[in-house]
């Protein structure tokens, strides 16, 4: 009995050590499992987000620029996702970025040409502003005498009262359609009669004295 009593502390100690060993092992195992599960969830979310973003790029439902799209695709590629669907989407998204880039370049080029054309028209308008203003003055003159005075002033810009005036009625593919050619005197009288100037000077040929020898107008 005494022997048995002596054995009790030892037994308790052994049980305690055993329980500690078993408990520690179990806790370590669940931590690893948790970490693994967490990593798997993160990966799944990454794949899911990648698919969503790539699909949005392909469908053109993002407001990203082509550079922003390319950055996002590069990031997704860095994840090295081993998923056939993602790989396929990456290829399609890269093709889409190329299309968007081409469209952006086209738009930029069109915008550049439009600005150039506007600048050209502005330059031309300022070059011929004096003539356009004088024609306006003839059309807006009060009474026949005033209009005739304005006509005489206008004629000073021209080599002769009979220089040809061409009026463009439409432009298509670099091809002009004209009204029946007239002379500057007839045209100025036309403005006097109609009391409206709805054209602008498109081009003018001048002689060595700076007088206009041929005038081309375009309907506004």
């Amino acid at each position: 009995m005494t022997k048995f009593i002596k054995l009790i502390p030892k037994t308790i100690m052994v049980l305690l050590v055993a329980s500690l060993l078993v408990g520690g092992a179990t806790s370590c195992k669940s931590k690893k499992k948790l970490a693994k599960e967490k990593a798997a969830a993160e990966y799944a979310m990454k794949v899911d987000n990648a698919k969503k973003d790539l699909t949005a790029i392909i469908n053109g439902s993002t407001d990203w620029t082509s550079d922003q799209m390319a950055d996002r695709i590069a990031k997704i590629k860095d994840y090295n996702i081993q998923d056939e669907e993602v790989k396929g989407l990456i290829k399609q998204a890269e093709a889409k970025v190329e299309d968007v880039r081409a469209a952006e370049m086209r738009k930029a080029e069109e915008e550049r040409l439009r600005r150039e054309e506007e600048a050209r028209i502005r330059a031309k308008q300022s070059e011929f502003a004096v003539i356009d203003n004088q024609f306006e003055a003839v059309a807006n003159a009060n009474g026949v005498d005033n209009a005739n005075n304005q006509i005489q002033m206008a004629l000073q810009y021209f080599e002769t009262p009979d220089i040809p005036v061409l009026i463009i009625i439409s432009q298509n593919g670099g091809f002009n359609d004209y009204d029946r050619p007239t002379t500057i005197t007839k045209f100025l009288n036309y403005l006097k009669d109609k009391k409206v100037y709805k054209y602008r000077v498109e081009s003018a040929k001048k002689n060595g004295m700076g007088k206009i020898t041929e005038l081309e107008l375009i309907t506004k």
Partner: protein
């Protein structure tokens, strides 16, 4: 046989391309439609200037010359009155000279509702022909400024548009020549 077929194919291709070349793009067609309408508006302005008693005689004659240039040679203009049932037709020059000498102290002529009743249609010779209708409001006043006569006349104007070419400054210029034909009275009301 193969050679004949080849020749036929080539001829057919040329025929098709020729037909396409004759067709105007909608933009160009619209431009000549507008041009023809503008010529009728020009005539409207000229008629009101010629008819106005305030227009100096020399100016009226100058405008008659310009107005006459709008018409094809030999065209006639119809004149009607509420006072008589028949419609008289005058050559363009005669019509304008009569208009200038109308026996009123003051004359007001205005045209409105100027529009196509028959669109410009291409004819086999390449001329485009259409009909534009207008409504003319005429008012004649006596020396006391009283309105002594007024009527509204609906008139149809035939318009001819033909592509022509001319040399200007050594360049060959292609242009659309719009000429007005007869002006027919359709109805006259008070």
């Amino acid at each position: 046989m193969k050679r004949i077929a080849l020749v036929l194919v080539i001829l057919a291709a040329f025929g098709v391309s020729g037909a396409v070349a004759q067709e105007l793009s909608p933009e160009r067609k619209q431009a000549i439609d507008s041009l023809a309408l503008e010529k009728v508006r020009d005539l409207s302005k000229y008629i009101s200037i010629i008819g106005s008693k305030e227009t100096p005689w020399s100016e009226a004659n100058r405008v008659i010359d310009r107005a006459e240039e709008l018409f094809m040679q030999g065209s006639e203009i119809g004149v009607s009155s509420l006072a008589r049932p028949e419609i008289s037709y005058y050559t363009v020059r005669k019509y304008f000279e009569r208009l200038m000498r109308l026996n009123y102290n003051k004359v007001e002529i205005s045209w409105y509702n100027i529009e196509y009743v028959s669109d410009l249609q291409r004819q086999p010779d390449g001329t485009y022909v259409g009909v534009i209708t207008i409504f003319q409001k005429f008012k004649g006043y006596d020396a006391e400024g009283r309105l002594v006569y007024q009527d509204t006349t609906k008139k149809d104007i035939t318009v001819y548009v033909k592509r022509k070419e001319t040399q200007i400054g050594g360049r060959l210029i292609g242009f659309w020549d719009v000429l007005l034909g007869d002006i027919r009275v359709k109805e006259t009301t008070k």
